[in-house]
């Protein structure tokens, strides 16, 4: 709230005063930076809505065209895109829900409950974070093969249900965000363990939960290698696999088609980010002050 008011006052001041050369320079740099970062996404939109031939013409087409539906129908025709979209959607929602619930529970316990061996356990958990994922790939595959879980979604759900990173992240959030006094006060008021977790701890961890939720959404939504290895039926495919299918045998790629699929696949992440933008910024500002 205070930051908003400061921003408003600043705005009023600049309007009253003459424009400073310094702020012109700052804004020019910022605008260039925004253009540099936003251009690839804009170019994606242009490519997705044009003929492949138009994109490679000179001068290249710089404004979005009207071919999006023609391109996208090729995507629907060439792959199980619709099915893959739904698969990615429910898989992402499920893994995010499980991850947030189980990791926050574990993180809260590690931060606020005392039990023998707690710190050592947490140390072991942290150690698993430093292991590179590539090393674990084949052994993990072996485990799921032995369990008979290959060609099912289980290898995609179970390992993401609670991760070392999630627990670590939310333990830090609980440690700094949940005051001991409030936990004790809740206990005095007669709240049990879960009640305290649900009504006291969780709301205080909200920014961290949102951030972890976004991470997990991105990981599940964009993951390619692991689903490639464990899924065994085009009807099970997630979006990255379906889009990869659009690339031809020897690399022959119809860029407009691939880009229109990519655009649709990116939209949910963009929309999600727009929705939770405020919380993310609050969280960023918060951690900046704390750090």
């Amino acid at each position: 709230m205070t930051t908003n008011r400061i921003a408003e006052t600043n705005g009023r001041e600049t309007r009253r005063r003459r424009i400073k050369p310094g702020s012109v320079v700052t804004h020019t740099i910022l605008i260039i930076a925004v253009a540099v970062f936003a251009f690839p996404f804009y170019w994606l939109v242009v490519m997705a809505t044009s003929h492949t031939g138009d994109i490679f013409a000179f001068p290249p087409r710089l404004i979005p065209g009207a071919e999006f539906f023609a391109n996208f129908s090729k995507v629907l025709h060439g792959t199980t895109f619709g099915r893959a979209f739904l698969n990615s959607l429910w898989l992402t929602v499920l893994t995010v829900a499980l991850q947030l619930f189980l990791s926050s529970l574990a993180g809260y316990v590690f931060a606020k409950r005392r039990f023998p061996g707690r710190d050592r356990l947490f140390g072991i958990l942290l150690f698993t974070l430093v292991l590179p994922t590539g090393v674990a790939l084949i052994p993990t595959y072996q485990i799921y093969a032995s369990l008979g879980w290959l060609n099912t979604y289980l290898p995609l759900i179970v390992p993401s249900a609670v991760t070392a990173f999630g627990v670590f992240w939310l333990r830090q959030a609980a440690e700094s965000g949940v005051p001991d006094e409030v936990v004790q006060a809740a206990a005095i008021d007669g709240a049990g363990f879960f009640r305290t977790y649900w009504s006291v701890a969780l709301p205080s961890m909200r920014p961290a939960l949102v951030a972890l939720g976004i991470f997990q959404t991105m990981w599940t939504w964009n993951d390619y290698l692991w689903p490639l290895l464990v899924l065994g039926n085009p009807n099970q495919y997630t979006l990255p696999l379906a889009i990869q299918e659009l690339n031809g045998n020897y690399g022959t790629t119809d860029y407009s088609t691939v880009m229109s699929g990519t655009l649709v696949a990116t939209l949910p992440l963009v929309i999600l980010f727009l929705i939770v933008r405020r919380t993310v910024f609050e969280n960023l500002a918060g951690s900046a002050v704390k750090g």
Partner: protein
């Protein structure tokens, strides 16, 4: 008071349960003990064959899995010994340490059908000990693709037979490249490694190995093809754009790339990148003699429940009829010469101004020399190709680039 918590717990459990159920119920493709499972890359097998295989073998339980990156998936399966398919479209030579997991299809009836396929291609798919570890799918006969209108404007012949004679040697190709550049500013070489280096090596049947299967990257031929290619590009005669890169497509669309030497399947790139130039392109025999890229193949794995049946299915997928359909529908150039006379392949191609491209590419496919593919062939090729691209970009002296990369390659691959 505890209602909300209970609700949460119930919904979490329900979500988990639903996940498990969904996971289990949709795991339909699991290879049961008697299922012949086939893994293939998108576009690697004729669509007609994929659609028809279950009808052709009604008694067999066949499961088809179209998946990107078959090699990665197969590597994981072979390493753990689980979930191995019966048939896979894969680069079998990357698995040279695991060839004992591949079926010698000659033992299961391939031998009597082998003469359906081009002999050189069949032979490239044999292991050092002579086992047939894969069955041919397609190949990439290398042609000289050129814009007839640009040739005409330069006062050069335009008919494919005449152009083939005009560029019959790499020296006359260079002279033509100079003339075209002077008259139109365009290039008839896309990149040194793509247009020159690869074709020159394959024409001599050289893929960095001796016929006894030893790496031999430092031969005189290896050196001259490498340095000549760099020199050609450093003299400003190539566009320096790699096929499948966007600037290659742009070069075609903007009339900067008016010719290139490369495998037949690359022609499809032009058709999507420059649909407006339809009718202007032609294909002629390449400089220096016939050659082909080795193309794809499919292998039967020993984990299959029925090696004889799997071999039979693999052969059917690539028989001349299916391969001809694959040419028409999927731009796969057949390794089965009987397909060359099929209606689809004997048909004039509009994009090539009504030329029957098979008339040029078919004989090239047949006359291609045998190439021994070693386990590191493609890796060494990538190392040399990258060195060529880097040298051209930095205008390095070809000799210096050669001694540098040769040292690296010889250290890495023995």
């Amino acid at each position: 008071m505890h209602k909300r918590w209970k609700l949460l717990a119930i919904s979490a459990v329900a979500a988990l349960g639903a996940g498990l159920l969904a996971g289990c119920s949709s795991g339909g493709s699991g290879s049961g003990s008697d299922t012949i499972s086939i893994w293939y890359r998108p576009g690697s097998l004729p669509t007609a064959a994929i659609n028809g295989v279950k009808k052709e073998f009604p008694d067999a339980k066949i499961s088809l899995l179209k998946t990107p990156d078959v090699d990665t998936k197969l590597a994981a399966a072979l390493r753990t010994g689980q979930n191995i398919p019966s048939i896979a479209v894969t680069n079998v030579f990357t698995f040279s340490n695991a060839l004992d997991k591949f079926v010698d299809v000659n033992k299961y009836g391939f031998k009597k059908d082998a003469d359906q396929y081009l002999p050189w291609k069949v032979k490239t798919l044999q292991s050092k000990s002579g086992q047939q570890v894969a069955i041919p799918i397609d190949i990439g006969p290398i042609g000289f693709y050129y814009r007839s209108d640009v040739f005409q404007a330069a006062g050069l012949p335009t008919d494919p037979a005449d152009v083939g004679k005009l560029v019959s040697t790499w020296d006359s190709y260079r002279q033509t490249a100079e003339k075209i550049k002077a008259s139109s500013g365009g290039f008839i070489c896309d990149a040194a490694d793509a247009s020159l280096y690869r074709a020159q090596r394959f024409q001599q049947g050289y893929y960095y190995y001796t016929d006894a299967g030893k790496v031999d990257a430092g031969t005189a031929l290896s050196k001259s093809t490498f340095t000549d290619s760099i020199q050609f590009a450093e003299d400003g005669l190539c566009l320096n754009a790699e096929p499948y890169a966007t600037d290659w497509n742009a070069g075609v669309a903007q009339n900067k790339l008016v010719g290139w030497v490369g495998p037949a399947y690359q022609a499809g790139l032009m058709k999507t990148a420059a649909p407006n130039e339809s009718g202007k392109w032609r294909v002629a025999t390449p400089p220096g003699g016939p050659a082909s890229t080795t193309g794809s193949s499919l292998s039967v794995l020993k984990a299959t429940p029925d090696a004889a049946l799997a071999t039979k299915i693999a052969e059917w997928l690539t028989n001349p009829t299916n391969m001809a359909a694959g040419y028409a529908q999927d731009s796969l150039f057949p390794s089965t010469p009987d397909s060359f006379t099929s209606p689809a392949m004997a048909k004039p191609d509009e994009y090539f101004g009504g030329q029957v491209t098979t008339d040029v590419l078919g004989p090239i496919a047949k006359q291609t020399p045998y190439i021994f593919i070693g386990p590191s062939s493609t890796n060494i090729e990538a190392a040399f190709s990258n060195a060529i691209t880097n040298a051209v970009a930095k205008k390095t002296n070809p000799e210096a680039a050669w001694s540098k990369v040769l040292k690296q390659v010889q250290q890495q691959y023995k």
